[in-house]
C-alpha cells in the first residue's frame, strides 16, 4: 500500500479546503441580495479579458475566412487577388456592421415600444461550467443594472441578471435548470411557473389539470414573480403531458433563440419612490 499523503500538512490542507468549500456552499453568502465583493471583483477582472478575447476570436475567424477566399482567387487571377480580397474584407465588415445595426435597431424599437428604462448589453462570454445556462454581459452596475433585472430581445424573454459587478453581469437564461418565470397562457389564462430543463427547452409547472391548454398557444409573462413585466412573450406551447395528478406539465418552445444571443435589452428595475 503506497502512502497517499506525503506530509501531514497536505492531509490537513485537503480537509480544510474541502470543509471550507462546503461551508461556503451552505452559508447565506450565496443567497444574499448583493453580489459578494470577492465574486464581483473576480467578474470585474475577468470581463476585460473576455471583451478582448471576443474581439480576437472575431478577428481570427475573419482572417481565416479571408485566407480561404484568398486561395480561391489566387487560382483565378493573381493580379486581382489583393483588390478582391480588400473588397471582400470591407464587404464582410460592412455586412457584419449592417447585421449588428439591424439587431440594435430592433432592440431600440423594442426599447421605445416598451417605454421602460433599459440598457442594451453585448454578450461577452458563455457559462464557465457545463451545468448552467448563462451568459456574461458587458454591462454592470455602472449602467444601472441590478440583480433580477429581466433581459429580453426582439423574440421574447431571455433571462434575468443574477450576478452584477461594476462593468459586467451574469445573465441566467430562462432555459437554466434553476430558472423560474411566472407565466400565463394567452387564451386559457392559466398561470404557472416556467422552468428550464437545461437543454434549451422549458416546461410550465403548476397548471391545473382542468385547464384546457392548446398546442401553439402563446406563453406570456404573468408579472406575478415581480421580476418580469407582465405580457412579454416567452414562447409557445408545443405539447401537454396527460394529467396524472392535480397539475399538468406543459412543454414550451422558447421564442427567443437563447443559443445565439449576441445582444440583449436589459430592463432596469425602477428604484422605489
Amino acid at each position: 500500500m503506497k502512502q497517499f499523503f506525503k506530509t501531514r500538512v497536505e492531509w490537513i490542507l485537503l480537509v480544510v479546503a474541502l470543509i471550507g468549500h462546503l461551508v461556503l456552499l451552505s452559508t447565506r453568502l450565496n443567497q444574499s441580495e448583493e453580489t459578494p465583493l470577492l465574486r464581483a471583483w473576480t467578474m470585474e477582472v475577468a470581463s476585460p479579458f473576455l471583451m478582448h478575447a471576443v474581439g480576437s476570436v472575431t478577428s481570427v475567424s475573419n482572417v481565416w475566412r479571408n485566407y480561404v477566399d484568398l486561395r480561391r482567387t489566387r487560382e483565378e487571377n493573381g493580379a486581382l487577388k489583393g483588390q478582391i480580397e480588400q473588397h471582400r474584407r470591407t464587404i464582410t465588415g460592412y455586412e457584419e456592421k449592417i447585421k449588428e445595426i439591424g439587431r440594435l435597431q430592433i432592440l431600440s424599437e423594442l426599447e421605445t415600444s416598451l417605454a421602460l428604462p433599459s440598457v442594451k448589453a453585448r454578450v461577452i462570454g458563455g457559462d464557465p461550467t457545463q451545468w448552467y445556462h448563462s451568459r456574461i454581459l458587458d454591462k454592470g452596475m455602472e449602467a444601472g443594472l441590478t440583480r433580477d433585472c429581466p433581459a429580453i430581445n426582439a423574440d421574447g424573454v431571455v433571462g434575468r441578471i443574477v450576478q452584477v459587478s461594476r462593468n459586467s453581469s451574469v445573465l441566467q437564461l430562462i432555459t437554466d435548470v434553476d430558472s423560474g418565470v411566472g407565466v400565463l397562457l394567452e387564451n386559457s389564462r392559466a398561470q404557472g411557473v416556467l422552468k428550464g430543463e437545461g437543454r434549451h427547452e422549458a416546461f410550465i409547472e403548476y397548471v391545473g389539470s382542468n385547464e384546457k391548454v392548446v398546442v401553439g398557444e402563446k406563453v406570456l409573462t404573468s408579472g406575478l414573480d415581480q421580476i418580469y413585466p407582465k405580457g412579454l412573450l416567452v414562447g409557445y406551447v408545443v405539447a401537454t403531458k396527460p394529467a396524472k395528478q392535480v397539475f399538468q406539465k406543459v412543454d414550451v418552445a422558447i421564442s427567443a433563440n437563447v443559443l445565439k444571443l449576441e445582444e440583449v435589452l436589459v430592463l432596469k428595475k425602477e428604484s422605489p419612490g
Partner: protein, 162 residues
C-alpha cells in the same frame, strides 16, 4: 527562480482555461466540456502533489463559480475532491500512458458530474435528474480533449522536469 516562473506560467495557463471555457461556451453553448477540470487533473498528475490539486482546484473552482449563476464553493469542492481521487489512483496505477490517461479523464469526468449533482441535491435542495447520455458524452469529450491538452501542458512544463 526558474521553477517558480514555470510554475507561475502553468498556473496562469490553468486559470486561462476558465477564460477559454467561457469563450468556447459562448460560441458552442451545447459543448459539454470542462476544460478547468482537465487542467486540475493534469496538475495533479504532473506535480504529484496534493498541494497543487488543492490550490488549482480552489482557484479554478472559484473562478468558475464567480462567472456562473451557481453558488460559490460548488465547483471548487468538486475539482478538489476529484483531483484528490485522481491523485490516489495515480499512486496505485501509474497514469502516464495514453490509454490510462484517457481512462482517468473519462472516469474523473463522470465522477465530477455525479458529485456536482449530488452536492446540488444535498446543499441546494434541488431535484436533479441524472442525464446519463449527457454525462457520458461529457466524459468522452473531456477525455478526448484532455489528451492533446495534457500533451501541450507536458511540453510547457517539460523544462521544469529536466
Amino acid at each position: 527562480m526558474g521553477n517558480f516562473l514555470r510554475s507561475t506560467a502553468v498556473l496562469i495557463i490553468i486559470v486561462s482555461t476558465v477564460v477559454l471555457q467561457v469563450l468556447l461556451t459562448r460560441y458552442f453553448p451545447r459543448l459539454p466540456l470542462d476544460l478547468p477540470l482537465v487542467a486540475v487533473l493534469y496538475l495533479t498528475m504532473a506535480k504529484e502533489s496534493l498541494l497543487w490539486t488543492i490550490l488549482s482546484g480552489t482557484a479554478v473552482g472559484f473562478l468558475q463559480d464567480s462567472l456562473s449563476p451557481g453558488p460559490l464553493g460548488l465547483n471548487g469542492f468538486t475539482k478538489i475532491a476529484i483531483g484528490c481521487l485522481a491523485y490516489m489512483a495515480n499512486t496505485i496505477i501509474a497514469i502516464d500512458r495514453v490509454a490510462t490517461r484517457w481512462g482517468m479523464l473519462f472516469v474523473s469526468s463522470l465522477l465530477a458530474a455525479l458529485l456536482f449533482l449530488l452536492l446540488r441535491v444535498l446543499f441546494l435542495n434541488r431535484n436533479e435528474t441524472i442525464d446519463g447520455e449527457r454525462i457520458l458524452l461529457s466524459g468522452l469529450i473531456n477525455a478526448c480533449a484532455g489528451l492533446p491538452l495534457f500533451y501541450i501542458f507536458d511540453k510547457i512544463s517539460q523544462p521544469a522536469n529536466e
